[in-house]
Symmetry: C2
């Protein structure tokens, strides 16, 4: 494989470089880079598409911006004629958790798996060209394995290697139980690559160990080893944790334009460049220009963030919806209705709270009964919207604005 680069014409070499620079942009890690280049070279030389694998958990089909980081990368491969292999990990899903301890890993029926796969598909269509995708359910091969095959598979990996995985090592050290079957999840993911003979596997950096299992087992089964492309994890709206549904810090790609725009506006300033890079279709040059302008006070950070919000809405709902969402946002938050010097208050509690409690917590009302009366009189607005229900519970977001009567404002800061 080493001398494939030497066989290329100058034009072909340029093409290899062009693709390599696209695929590596934004990636946290490529293991190993050199092999990626050679794989591209082989593809160019033989005019044969590469096979790019992405594994999906069939139990959580709500797609958010965090997922689009790898989807956008896949789209780049698609745009250059390569083949995407989506693997629905339904075998694990159908087994559930044999210890019965994890409620997260509940057993799924065939119907649920099918339904969840459909849900993925409908959402992925916003990023990928779905008509060009290979879809696989890994139960197809895993369900055919017998005990003998499993022993054979297990014979190709050491216990020490598996324990190396971050969370296993930690749990062993803390004497937290690891069920032996958990050792099989990375094996399954690795064996998927043996069956698919894919050239590349994509995933977040948290998939580092599992994706290297694919390399390991492909080699043990005498196949060409896949290259791992690990994408950074996108922090959620809180700016701290990885974006996920369970943390309620996500922007779902199916959310309505106004919610999407509003949530984008609550992203901490320092995360903006990362969101531009990983969650929009802006080029690196464009992003650098924005950063430069913000840094030199040519562009106000708020305006940069509005561009981000508009862009995200435009990608998933189109240009018109993006403009409408921006207009609405402006009308609520920026039409001179708000003073420019709102005092900030800091919030570290739970992500949802009854409005009454919120008012009392920040001494905006002296008692719950007073707060209740104020709501009934129409004197309370949250983000510009009048609260009419005394039992209203709101979701805390960064920069959320509380208005009491005509003159009192507070802006919540969550970090």
């Amino acid at each position: 494989m080493k001398n494939q680069l030497e066989q290329l014409t100058r034009e072909q070499l340029a093409e290899v470089d062009r693709q390599f620079s696209i695929y590596s942009s934004g990636a946290a890690e490529i293991i190993p880079e050199e092999e990626l280049k050679h794989k591209i070279a082989k593809s160019v030389l033989l005019d044969k598409p590469l096979k790019i694998k992405l594994g999906l958990d069939p139990s959580a089909p709500d797609v958010h911006l965090g997922h689009t980081v790898v989807l956008n990368k896949l789209r780049q491969f698609q745009d250059n004629g390569h083949v995407i292999q989506l693997i629905i990990g339904d075998f694990t899903g159908k087994i559930g958790d044999p210890t019965g301890k994890s409620t997260a890993r509940k057993q799924l029926t065939d119907e649920e798996v099918q339904h969840n796969a459909q849900t993925y598909f409908q959402q992925f269509g916003k990023v990928l060209k779905m008509e060009k995708i290979e879809l696989h359910y890994n139960s197809k091969w895993h369900s055919k394995l017998h005990f003998e095959d499993v022993i054979n598979l297990a014979g190709k990996i050491t216990v020490a290697r598996l324990i190396e995985r971050d969370d296993f090592e930690e749990r062993l050290a803390l004497k937290k139980p690891i069920s032996l079957h958990e050792f099989f999840y990375p094996l399954m993911q690795g064996y998927d690559s043996v069956v698919l003979e894919n050239d590349i596997e994509l995933g977040g950096t948290d998939q580092h160990f599992n994706i290297l299992m694919g390399r390991h087992f492909q080699e043990k089964f005498g196949k060409e080893k896949q290259v791992a492309i690990l994408m950074p994890l996108l922090e959620g709206l809180d700016g701290v944790e990885k974006m996920s549904k369970s943390k309620n810090n996500y922007i779902g790609i199916d959310e309505p334009p106004n919610d999407m725009y509003g949530k984008a506006m609550s992203i901490p300033d320092e995360l903006m460049p990362k969101y531009f890079e990983l969650a929009t279709d802006f080029s690196l040059d464009e992003i650098q220009k924005i950063q430069h302008e913000v840094k030199n006070n040519i562009l106000h950070p708020r305006d940069a963030k509005m561009l981000l919000g508009r862009t995200i809405v435009r990608i998933y709902h189109g240009q018109e919806a993006a403009e409408e969402a921006e207009l609405r946002f402006k009308s609520v938050f920026q039409k001179g209705e708000l003073p420019t010097d709102i005092p900030a208050v800091h919030w570290q509690g739970s992500r949802s709270i009854a409005v009454i409690d919120l008012l009392v917590t920040f001494d905006l009302q002296s008692s719950k009964s007073e707060a209740r009366r104020m709501i009934q009189n129409g004197g309370i607005k949250i983000n510009g919207e009048k609260i009419m229900d005394i039992h209203a519970v709101i979701t805390i977001t960064n920069d959320l604005i509380i208005q009491v009567g005509k003159r009192i404002y507070r802006q919540l800061k969550c970090n």
Copy 2:
């Protein structure tokens, strides 16, 4: 189960005690003793035989006295009407070693497994009533397990529990690789007990961990837990290592009477009581009487050992063969042909050696050519037998006697 003992008549209670004392005699460990008593009680109360399991490795069918320690224990259960379940572990045998590293665990064909099982059977017939035995090949159930079942099985045990096994812990600490499939051997043995629903599993103390797996998995699958009866390991003729074919320190139960007798005579004196207890049909009372007489110089240790040799030959070849073997031994070693003050020489080398090298090593001849000439002249005897072949290679045993010419004697001491 607790109050079964209370339901028994006085006569039945005595029967429980009688059986319990037989089964526990000579055992290194019973886990747990109380449950064994309750199992016997249930059997007596319901007049229902217990099921006693013994697992066999299909790759090493040469049965020696070391094996008879558990076989004798099984026979006691048979004599009291219980059912013996022999499990040929052919599933593992047919898989072989998936890493290809262990030559010991080579892959066996169906024919080899069958042949080895036959060989076991023919030999076991010298201790057990074979017509009353249940025979099982564990491939029958293991080969039917699918990946899903394996995951389910693996979900019932923790990694930490498996690592606890002595050799795993040591190998991990020394960073010696453990292939993941090795974790499955104890699981398989445990699952055998789930399928067989046996009451008791027998084995050597080196099977401690694996036999407790049977208890573990029976419980996890909602079955009554087996009791482990662990028998001591019989040291081989060297008095140090566990008797085994690979150490060449064994007495095979198929060996000819003279070899058996001669080997028995080479057992170190201090091991005699253990051999009497574990490898003969002598009662504890009889053994204590012999020990007492030896201690008080009523019985010469050599005569006690001759009784042991005679007994072992009698068990496997009958009374007549035992007497003949003793006569022959006496004619060679004791007919006044040997001086009573033979100098001992100590030997720590390999267990087989060319006679010529042996003579030179102990300075009994000054050179190899001289040694060769002495053999050709009929001047060399080993254990009373004239060596005629200058290329003769002999097997070293303790107390072996070398005679050079008419006057020079040496007796080998191996420990």
